[in-house]
Symmetry: C2
Subunit: 138 residues, 2 copies
Amino acid sequence: MLTPEIVEFLNHGTRTGMLAFTAGDGRPLAAPVWFLVEDGALVLNTGSGTAKGKAIARDPRVCLVVDLAEPPYAFVQVQGVAETSEDPAELLRTATALGGRYMGADRAEEFGRRNAVPGELVVRIRPTKVVAQLDVAA
Amino acid sequence: MLTPEIVEFLNHGTRTGMLAFTAGDGRPLAAPVWFLVEDGALVLNTGSGTAKGKAIARDPRVCLVVDLAEPPYAFVQVQGVAETSEDPAELLRTATALGGRYMGADRAEEFGRRNAVPGELVVRIRPTKVVAQLDVAA
C-alpha cells in the first residue's frame, strides 16, 4: 500500500506525522510524532502512560497524516492498526533511528539513549488504507 | 485560551492545521485543513458531504493541531467544539481569506469563488482546551 512515491514523501526531511487517536471519552485527538517507514509499516515511540499510549491500548485503530504545508500542498493519510512492543533492543534501535532522522546523525545516539527508557513503547502501525493526494491546489 | 504567542504560531506563514475527527465506525481520522484564527476561534471550510463534514454533523468535538516540523519542533493542539454555517456571504468571505493566506493575495478571489459554492460549510471551532509546547526538543 505504501508505494515508492508515498514512501519518498513520508521520508522527506524532518516531516512529522500527525497521529490521530481517540480519548477515553470518545473525543478525537491528534498529536505530532516522529516516525520511520520500515517494511511497509510506520514506526514511532511513545510512553505507555501518555494519552497516545493509553488510547492505543484501548483501541489500536489510528491514523497518521503527513502533509506539505506550502503550495502545491500535498498529504498522505495512513489509516492502520497499531501494535506495541516493549522490547528494549528494538526500543533503543528505533529511538536512535528517530533521533537521527529528526535531530541529525550526530545526535542520534544521544536521543536514542534518552528516549529508550522503561515505560516507552515501540508502536508499529500496519496500514489498512492509504489516501494520498500529492498535488492538492493545482 | 489562544494567547497572542499561540495566535502568532498558528498564523505563521502557510502552516496548515491537522483536523482530527471520528469516522462513522468510531475510528480516528485526521486530514490537513486551511484555517484562520478569528475572534478566539479557528475557522475553516469543508464540504457537508466530506468525511470531515459528516463527522462534525455526528459529533462536533474536534481537535486541530499545528506543528513546526523542524528543530526545535513545536506544536499547538486546540481541542474544541465545531459549529457550522452555510451563510453564503460568510462562506465567500472566509474562502477568500483562506485563499489569500494559503495561495497568496493575488489568488484570494479566485480561490474564494472556487470554494464558496453550495454544499460548502463554514466551520468555526471554539476552543475548550489548548495545549501548546513551543520548544519540544530543547
